[in-house]
Each structure stands twice: as structure tokens, then as C-alpha cells.
Homo-oligomer: 323 residues x 2
């Protein structure tokens, strides 16, 4: 069984063919600037899939939401202007004559880690993405848990500080507003601009990476900002652990390149904040799928659906029926 | 099918016989003061079950944790000193010659609302208890979701205020420390003792109920304390909604006797804090099982297990095998 995985993003799209063992037979990352819209980007994505030069038995597509996975249609995705109403599964099914499945990228990434990555064989686990934003996915009893309307896993938009900063979602004190890559950069920038001494004054663009580097080099302001963000991330992880009692938390996304500087404080906070024995039973590890998490996730979603023989989108196409 | 439900508490125990339609055929509430221990309380509970005068096909037992539902054994339950290691399912199976099932009381209460109460037919829902503490139970896809080690649903012990008050669990800023009945009484008491003007100065014992009554009568301090607690409860509910995307939140427990004074602010906060459309899709309602939630919960747990024909405790007894 080979799956074409398609991870559509607002700036880049990753496509590749993955087999059931997790071997990537071919892959390509192409630029898909949001401003160009689906009229330009969608044909480019389809051509990239063609050019991989491999056959496949199904297509899995991961994308930021909101989307309707039952009909395979994108809704009003913030970073994909113009795609509202595009039935992606139909487009791929008509082009490649195999079944296609669409899911939220965070759920897909969680499933990718469960099938191919650090969560193999772990039935009750959660996945955090930690990059510009903070997202999440839940695996419950070995299956993606999507809640009542496929919106479960908004880990980044739960409140950890009632009177915290405003969040782009309209609430305040959300985990994302206090611990995402964007938040780390924003908080450091605010403190530098407020006149506090810091080597970050000389940095062209303050990013989370720059904050970490400055912190490791002994910059006090950067260290405080980093430590606070990790404390807050630890609290966010602790909250999800208290609510869901997973045996494993996997954290992926750009900020996790920080390695121990991230995982050590997060683990310490979880141990401190979560009731015994829940906090002691949970393992917190980096994602194994690395930069390919979107590709593995998209493939995992299709693989999971096929293995279950259910929730197949009811799309009519003149291709081989896998079932 | 008739179930004997047994809801064991640190001060009182409720036993009753419930049929599949939710009709309570008989019930009795007896005093079981924790200090007397299982040597006195357990025979009293068994006698109360006998005195109900009804036959039944299985026993469901709900109890505060920690407990091991697989073996049917209580562990070191804080308000049940001396019960550590008591295999309750074995005791009931030997006495009544039918299968017995033990579960956490919050999961049981959630399942009681799902099968008999306000959550009938709702597959993805959560249940909050709001009394001296705050507990929770999760129904995912029509089944109790217990996480990796049966500890899921610790809604009361997730942080909503990073620098909030110390909580009895060892963490700080937990929902329970800011919105439980105990917390409402404690916060009001602190402010009264700090010398602030309030009619609560004349109250013998400041309880959550006393705070609500004073608030409704126009007492400013009481009103502030109540409003803050409801804002915090709303944030706690919002967090669980963001993480799990249930279509229904049911809140039960003593504090919910406040009615609209509780549900209206909680609904408003959820609408304000949770991303659209998640926050708009969710309904927040009072528990329907009222003071019998423990009885219905215990019965529901047994009914659910029997209906699934699985996870039967492997206890040897000379009774009829239901399977």
C-alpha cells in the first residue's frame, strides 16, 4: 500500500509518496504563496504529485482548518484566501482515480506520529505543534479523536492566565499568546523596546530562535523571556495531561529545535503541576517525523481511513474502488 | 434488566435499584462516616442493599478515586481511610451472586447523565461536578473516555491562572482553587476577615450558598466573589470545550443549585473565550439526575459494561453468569 501525502500550507506545500512502513519513496516541497490562490497553486500541487513518478493507492491531504472532512472541502482557512469551498478530495480523486481523504493538519500530524513516529503502539497520546502558533491533536484508544464537530485539539487556545495578553483568537491569556514562537518573539521585542538592556537590541529581527540563542549566550532578558515561555508551555501541556491522561505527549514544530532547552523545563513543570500519579506516568518527547511531519500526517490519515473501511467520502469517480 | 447502584461517599452512601429506563425501584441513603472505616460501613451498606427488597442483575459501584477499576479495588482514597486494598467488586459479587463493576464517581456521573439524564443520545459530551471540589468525566463517541490509566477528567486540577492560589493538589491556580464551593467560601472569608464591609460578617459559617444569597441581596463583596468565581468556572469550561469540542457540557453538584446565577455567566464566558464556531455550537446545561446523580452513575457504569460484553472483572463466584 502506497499513499500520496499532500500537506498544503499558506507558503509551501509538501507532497510525497509514503509506504505502509513509513518509507518515503519520493517527495517534493514547492512554493505555494497564499496570495496566488488556488487557481495557480492547485495545478502546481497536482503537477508536483505527478512528477514524483510513483503510483499510489490513495491520497491523504492535510491542511489548516476550518474544513469539512466529511465532504473533503476547505472552508474559510485564514492563510489560504480563495480556497473556501474547494472540494480537495474531488480534485485529487478526479486527477488520480484513487480515494482521497482530507483532514485538519494537526490531527493529521498526531496520527502521523502515532502510525509512523514517536507514538507507535501508544493508544492514548496527544500531539502539540509549537511553531508560529500552537495546535494539537488527540489520539484516543488508537484513533484520532475529533470531538463533536471535528474541532477538538485547540490546545493553543485554552486560557492559562485569566488576565493574560490578548490573543489573535479574540480571547486572552491563551497558551498560544504566551508560549508560541510568535509569542516568544513578541514578548522579547516588547521588553527590548521598553528599554531593557539586552543583546537582542542589535538583532535585525527578533525571532524565538534569536531569543533562545541570546538566552544560551547569557543574555538576561532573553533568558527570562525564554524561561517564562517554557513555564507557560509546561502549564499548557500539564492542563491537557490533567484533562486527558495520555501516556505520551509528543511536541513537534519549529520551536522544538530548541531541544533540551524546551523539553527539560516543560517536563519539570508537568511533574510539578499535574497530580500524582498522572504527571509521573506521562512521557514527553520530541516528534520523530521532523520536517516531514506534514507529509507523514497526511499519509497516516488516508492509511487510517482505509484500514477502518469507513467514513469514505461519497464521491463518484471512474477509478478503482479500494474497498 | 435491573441494576443495583451503590454510590459510596466519605459521609453518606446512596444505594438503589434502577431499571434500564431509569426508573428507581427503591433507594436508601445511609450515613457512612469515614472515621468508622470499612469494618462498620461496608456491612451497613450491604444490609441497606438487602433491605431494598428488589432483585437485580448486576451491581455498579461509584466511588471517589484513586481506584483500580480492572480489579475492582479501592486504593488510597483521601476521604475513605482504611479502605485501601478493599476489592469492592468481590465483596458485592460474593454477597449478591451477580457481576459487580467499580468506577470513578465522576466518570460514573458522566455516564449516568449520558444514559439516563441530560446527555441522552449525545455522543461527545463532558460532565463537570461542582461542589466542594470540581471533578469531571468525558464521554467520547458514546463511551466513557478514561485516558491511559483511568485518570482522565481532572478538570478541577488544570491551571487557569498561572500565579493563582495554592491548591490542595500541590499546584496553584487550579480551576478548583478558584471556582469550587470551597473556593467561593474561602475567598469570601478571606476578604471579610481582611476587614471589607459585607453582610457576610454576621454569618456563622460562610458557605458558597451564603455568598450567593448575600450577592443576590445586594452585598457588594459577595457579588464580586461570586462573579469572579463564575468567570473562572466559565474559563475552566471554555478550556475543556476548546480541547475536546463536545456538543454538550453538563454541570452538576451542589453549587449548581444556584441555577441561572451560575449557568448564565458560565455560558457568556464560554461564548467569549472559545473560538468560533466551537463556542457557539456547545450547549451548557444542568445535570438532570439531581441528587441521585451518584446512583444513576453507578447503575450506568454497570449497564454500559454489560451492554458491551467486555472488560468484565475476572472474579470467581458461584452465581449466575450474565454473559
Amino acid at each position: 500500500m502506497r499513499i500520496l501525502g499532500v500537506d498544503i500550507g499558506g507558503t509551501k506545500t509538501l507532497v510525497g509518496v509514503v509506504d505502509e512502513t513509513g518509507t518515503v519513496l519520493a517527495k517534493e516541497r514547492i512554493e505555494t504563496p497564499g496570495a496566488l490562490g488556488p487557481g495557480v497553486n492547485l495545478p502546481a500541487i497536482l503537477n508536483a504529485c505527478d512528477s514524483l513518478g510513483h503510483t499510489f493507492d490513495a491520497v491523504g491531504i492535510g491542511c489548516g482548518g476550518p474544513l469539512d472532512r466529511r465532504t473533503g472541502t476547505l472552508l474559510d482557512v485564514p492563510n489560504l484566501p480563495g480556497w473556501n469551498g474547494v472540494c480537495l478530495t474531488q480534485v485529487f480523486e478526479e486527477r488520480f482515480k484513487v480515494r482521497a481523504y482530507l483532514d485538519n493538519d494537526a490531527t493529521a500530524a498526531a496520527m502521523g506520529e502515532h502510525i509512523f513516529g514517536a507514538g507507535k503502539g501508544v493508544d492514548d497520546m496527544v500531539f502539540f505543534t509549537m511553531s508560529t502558533g500552537i495546535g494539537g491533536g488527540i489520539i484516543a484508544g488508537g484513533k484520532p479523536y475529533r470531538g463533536s464537530a471535528d474541532y477538538a485539539g485547540e490546545f493553543g487556545h485554552h486560557t492559562i492566565k485569566t488576565d493574560g495578553p490578548e490573543c489573535r483568537c479574540g480571547s486572552r491569556g491563551c497558551l498560544e499568546s504566551l508560549a508560541s514562537g510568535t509569542a516568544i518573539a513578541r514578548i522579547a521585542g516588547e521588553r527590548v523596546r521598553a528599554g531593557n538592556a539586552s543583546s537582542l537590541k542589535n538583532v535585525t529581527e527578533i525571532t524565538a530562535e534569536a531569543v533562545l540563542h541570546a538566552a544560551l549566550a547569557g543574555d538576561e532578558l532573553a533568558r527570562e523571556v525564554w524561561d517564562e515561555a517554557m513555564e507557560n508551555m509546561g502549564i499548557g501541556v500539564a492542563n491537557v495531561v490533567s484533562i486527558l491522561n495520555p501516556s505520551l505527549v509528543i511536541i513537534g514544530g519549529g520551536v522544538t529545535r530548541a531541544g533540551d532547552a524546551l523539553f527539560e523545563p516543560v517536563r519539570a513543570v508537568v511533574k510539578k503541576r499535574v497530580m500524582k500519579p498522572i504527571g509521573e506516568l506521562v512521557k514527553i518527547v520530541p516528534a520523530a517525523n521532523g520536517d516531514l511531519f506534514g507529509l507523514y500526517g497526511a499519509a497516516a490519515i488516508a492509511l487510517d481511513e482505509i484500514r477502518q473501511y469507513k467514513e469514505i467520502p461519497n464521491v463518484d469517480f471512474a477509478g478503482a474502488d479500494l474497498h
